[in-house]
Symmetry: C2
């Protein structure tokens, strides 16, 4: 293995100088800097992460705490993961995965062993048991999602309340006076997950404010549940002309079910979703974006700020963006014809 001493010898300088070239923590004359860089390149030197962590008590690793619970939409989680990893890499950080099932003990273990510099925690409940632990550990942490009391924390989230309201406003402007809401599985509300409750609250408040009739129901991740919810909504709100869907997993089925009940989408019932753009694009539905990439990146940036001793605001809320998609909604019903792309070619 090639060490810092090897590099120092090769460049004819002291080990510390090599270190300073690498960290930039003290000025090095241009000449030596170049020489050291060349030696590093030539010898293929890579600082030993453990040694560095030991000497500097900085690991350049952050922990990403993942949810694994019912009702979390795997593709969305995966989008967060990739955006966090890429953002972290841009700050020369690596990402250590901690699954939520390891609970508070997992956080303790990882922090206690000085394995990570800070935490990124996803899927925070309104009254999350990990919050006291996070405080006690005294390591910088940023939450993706936010609990009820935000004081002393750093949280990033989409403004779900505004998102729920935004859907209503958009539909109201189009003239709808009776709007349904199809939400996440009931378990998600039962465990007081912030984003779900807030979206619903924003939706309800906006409907109330505008004197719009509305009803909200949770939907499980099964076709029959979605179907039951849709028929119930149609029964309870006979004049329902629009539906807000906050449940990525069953979004496609919602359209199916409306059609199965004889409602054309969007002519009879307009559908607005709160979901990742990619999914809405695929189904060609109007939607409020769930910008996992932006949220992930912002979370990493806030964590880096805290690691550098700054005190970012306790709550960063991203304003929701509604993207209106008109035109034919897929999937189509029997009998209708799609615009076809080129004829598929055989797999080679």
């Amino acid at each position: 293995m090639v060490t810092i001493v090897d590099v120092a010898k090769h460049a004819g300088v002291a080990p510390s100088t090599v270190s300073y070239v690498l960290t930039g923590k003290r000025p090095v004359s241009a000449g030596t800097r170049v020489r050291v860089r060349e030696s590093i390149q030539l010898l293929g030197y890579q600082p030993h992460a453990g040694a560095r962590a030991l000497a500097s008590s900085r690991t350049n690793v952050l922990a990403l705490v993942l949810p694994l619970r019912e009702g979390v939409h795997l593709p969305v989680v995966m989008r967060f993961v990739t955006s966090v990893v890429m953002a972290a890499r841009a700050h020369d950080m690596d990402v250590l995965l901690v699954t939520a099932d390891q609970g508070a003990a997992g956080l303790r273990r990882v922090a206690g062993g000085a394995r990570v510099d800070g935490f990124l925690v996803m899927d925070v409940a309104l009254d999350d048991e990990r919050l006291p632990v996070l405080r006690e550990l005294g390591r910088p942490a940023v939450l993706l999602g936010h609990p009820s009391a935000v004081k002393g924390l750093t949280c990033v989230d989409l403004d779900f309340e505004a998102a729920g309201a935004r859907c209503v406003d958009h539909l109201a402007e189009l003239g709808h006076r009776s709007i349904g809401f199809l939400g996440a599985p009931s378990a998600v509300y039962a465990r007081r997950t912030g984003f779900a409750q807030r979206t619903l609250a924003g939706f309800s408040a906006a409907a109330m404010r505008r004197g719009i009739a509305s009803t909200a129901l949770p939907a499980e991740q099964r076709y029959d549940s979605v179907h039951a919810v849709v028929t119930t909504l149609l029964r309870e709100l006979p004049r329902m002309s629009a539906l807000v869907v906050h449940n990525e997993a069953v979004l496609g089925w919602v359209v199916d079910c409306l059609r199965a009940e004889g409602r054309r989408v969007p002519d009879d019932v307009a559908v607005v979703a709160i979901c990742p753009d990619e999914l809405a694009e695929q189904l060609r539905l109007t939607s409020v974006q769930l910008p996992a990439d932006v949220l992930g990146r912002r979370a990493v940036e806030l964590l880096m700020a805290k690691l550098n001793g700054q005190q970012p605001p306790p709550l960063t809320l991203l304003p929701p963006k509604l993207f209106s998609r008109t035109g034919p909604v897929v999937p189509m019903l029997a009998g209708q014809r799609m615009r076809l792309g080129e004829t598929p070619r055989r797999v080679s």
Copy 2:
């Protein structure tokens, strides 16, 4: 911070003894062992990961290299991730995430800095550019998926070839004589991804062997593409009575499209999928399981074996398991009625 010296003093032993109690690398008398354990507990001692790595050149961290390319199904990747993390934890290992976009350089960086003990690489292409790098790094690695030449490597994979054949066999036994194959996006085949090609090969060979008419087409992740493929298949194989689908992302649409073309599922066209059980269960389709949890766990176990100096076989293939689901397939068409669960209750 509480160090090994603190524990040693508290227990009245030498630091080395504490170390040996922890690692078990040399026998310690029952009495002292208990005393040391108590002190550790009492003081809340956690070994410093960096110091440990420096002294022992073992990090207890493994790198998981994730694919991020077009056509990889995010939920499936996420299932692998969680199963790998949980299996790793069972071996007292943590998981560091490396995204494939970091490429060979990412592997070099992580290995060179002694950040990890070994690699788990997902989504390996038949002629993967990272393989030579992995060899050169000289760290234990296990591949999820396998390239064409397996010599000197350690790979775990579902036996996709057998999976493709299994679908044909199952359908043949049910009397089908004309079977279509709807595959992954063409990009997946273009980049010579092992699992996709092998499934197709197994399917084609089995059809050939049994004298069954068959046609295979790739499908993009858009409704119009799926629709085009389905109509093309129906045109090219007019007597097609069964369809094998190897494309999780569009599985639901396939059923929609068949119905849009006036074919009842499964009465007119039987559909067999190769996908995670959960998805098949949701759609109530017969399927060959994609057991991400088993594969992930097995991969970790093989990596641990290599870290312990063993030489596991170069290729572990899991036999495919077909799970037959009969009864109504969702989603239903307009006019048809689902068995309803209980009436949904309002979101509190």
